[in-house]
């Protein structure tokens, strides 16, 4: 019976026109434009990894984490409208609701990752080994889990009106500072130290590991798992407090 619930939640998330625009179309368009503008040649000191490949894994990661985060953040609307109260009148437990929403957030992160990768192969001629593709698509997808949970936290903290400000702010902090939209290498060293704490930096390392070698993979997994635990702890605490207050 819960699969029917999950399916309907996923359908809602995927149907949202803003979702399609900002998290599926937007990263693909930026990818194509970026390749046209900066896609010539290879990344320095990389044994000839083309810039196009780096842009592809970066924008796949960007689309993935934005989709995951936005889905969770939209729970702010359900909270404001009283729908969460209606759900409290069903056997669905608070943790069940949060897990379902987190799962849907993670699920909808897959389309942008797949789409950017497909454009990479079919349009921009990116070549990778089978294992590298698995890491770029499936690895990056799994790595969006902390962002789905972060989105839920935003959904619990923001109101329906301020949700947009929260997600835009996080997009800038995580996208730019995390080295997804611009490479960390261009930052002064103090700033790159900050960016290496952010979950988005470690998300980008998953895809980039497939291109440049997996020296950082263990560290990336640990960081992402740690962020997932921290965000989940905050979400559950916040949700319980919110329930008690209503």
């Amino acid at each position: 019976m819960r699969t029917a619930y999950l399916a309907l939640e996923a359908k809602r998330a995927l149907r949202n026109p803003r979702f399609l625009m900002f998290t599926v179309v937007f990263p693909v368009v930026i990818f194509v434009i970026d390749v046209a503008a900066f896609g010539k040649g290879a990344v320095p000191d990389s044994n000839g990894v083309p810039y196009t490949s780096l842009l592809m894994v970066s924008l796949a990661a960007f689309g993935g984490f934005m989709a995951a985060m936005n889905t969770g953040a939209r729970t702010a609307v359900e909270r404001a409208s009283g729908w969460q109260r209606q759900l409290r009148l069903t056997p669905l437990k608070p943790t069940g609701y949060l897990v379902a929403k987190g799962a849907v957030g993670t699920l909808v992160a897959l389309p942008p990752i797949v789409l950017v990768s497909l454009v990479g192969v079919l349009v921009e001629g990116v070549h990778l080994s089978g294992g590298a593709w698995a890491q770029v698509v499936l690895g990056a997808w799994v790595a969006t889990i902390p962002f789905a949970v972060l989105g839920l936290l935003v959904g619990q903290l923001a109101t329906a009106e301020t949700m947009q400000v929260f997600t835009s702010g996080l997009m800038i902090v995580l996208g730019f500072l995390g080295g997804i939209l611009i490479p960390v290498q261009v930052f002064p060293s103090w700033l790159s130290h900050i960016s290496m704490v952010l979950p988005s930096y470690w998300l980008s390392q998953i895809g980039q590991g497939a291109l440049f070698g997996n020296d950082n993979l263990g560290k990336a997994i640990l960081w992402l798992a740690a962020w997932t635990v921290v965000f989940a702890f905050l979400v559950v605490r916040r949700y319980q407090r919110d329930s008690a207050r209503v």
């Binding site: 019976m1 619930y5 309907l8 209606q86 409290r88 009148l89 069903t90 056997p91």
Partner: protein, 320 residues
Amino acid sequence: MNEATRGTGYGQQGPGRAEVSAGAAVSLSGLRKHYGEVRAVDGVDLVIAPGEVVALLGPNGAGKSTTVDMLLGLSNPDSGEARIFGQTPRDAVAAGAVGAMLQEGSLLDDATVGETVAMIASLHRKPMPVAEALRRANVEDLSGRMCTKLSGGQKQRVRFAVALVCDPHLLVLDEPTSAMDVGTRREFWQSMKEFTEAGKTVLFATHYLDEAEEFADRVVLMRSGRIVADGSVAEVRSVVSGRTLTAQVSGATQSAMRTLPGVRGADVRGERVALDCADSDATIRALITTYPQAYDIEIKALGLEEAFLALTGDNEGGTR
């Protein structure tokens, strides 16, 4: 339990409550909820037997919604307890024994009517078929429509389907008809009849007295967080003694009407006279003697509305 009680409600507490509430659909005992200085609910005792249709009346801020929230387990009482068919609210909700239409509950803005009801159904253990819930709420034809494209009255009916789909034994409705026009309200109560005729229990909060009068077996009146009257419509009505006498009296004046025996208050508009009588028998005798040409005379018992005003009108409690 059913006699009209007027006053503070103190007399309702006592050791006998637990036995009384055994087998009850709803049992609230000593329920209290304070928000800072505001005593939103200040000692509510209420037992509803299975099959009863009970209207919860009261002015804004009387504590109706807070009481409903505690009954449903959406908020915890500061003291006292709520039971639904002997279970805690949470257990009753988990068992699908109670369905509710909340006052501010809205629908999803990115799902169709059918999907919304199906989503709630998918979470319950023994739901009725979605199509059945839609039919009973009279919204079958709206199944494929997005919830954002509904009128206020249609939204309420869809929310009724959401409340029904778990196939509950108890329905709790917080101002269910507030966004409906007269025709839709009638249809809504028609669908409700199908539910109550199956022997199910309904508790509804409303500010439409005519709805309470027409559809409830029993009326519970709240003021300042307390129950001030509880009984059948006739019983609650009788709490306010006296009758209204109306007549056409030529040459009537306000002061002359007031001096008639048995009259508490008079309203004179041209020839039309409305008298609030403590003893209408004495008044009519005097009226006929003094004004033999008086005609169109009508004497009515005070309605629920007058009872409501009399019981909830004075503000010594301060409702917020």
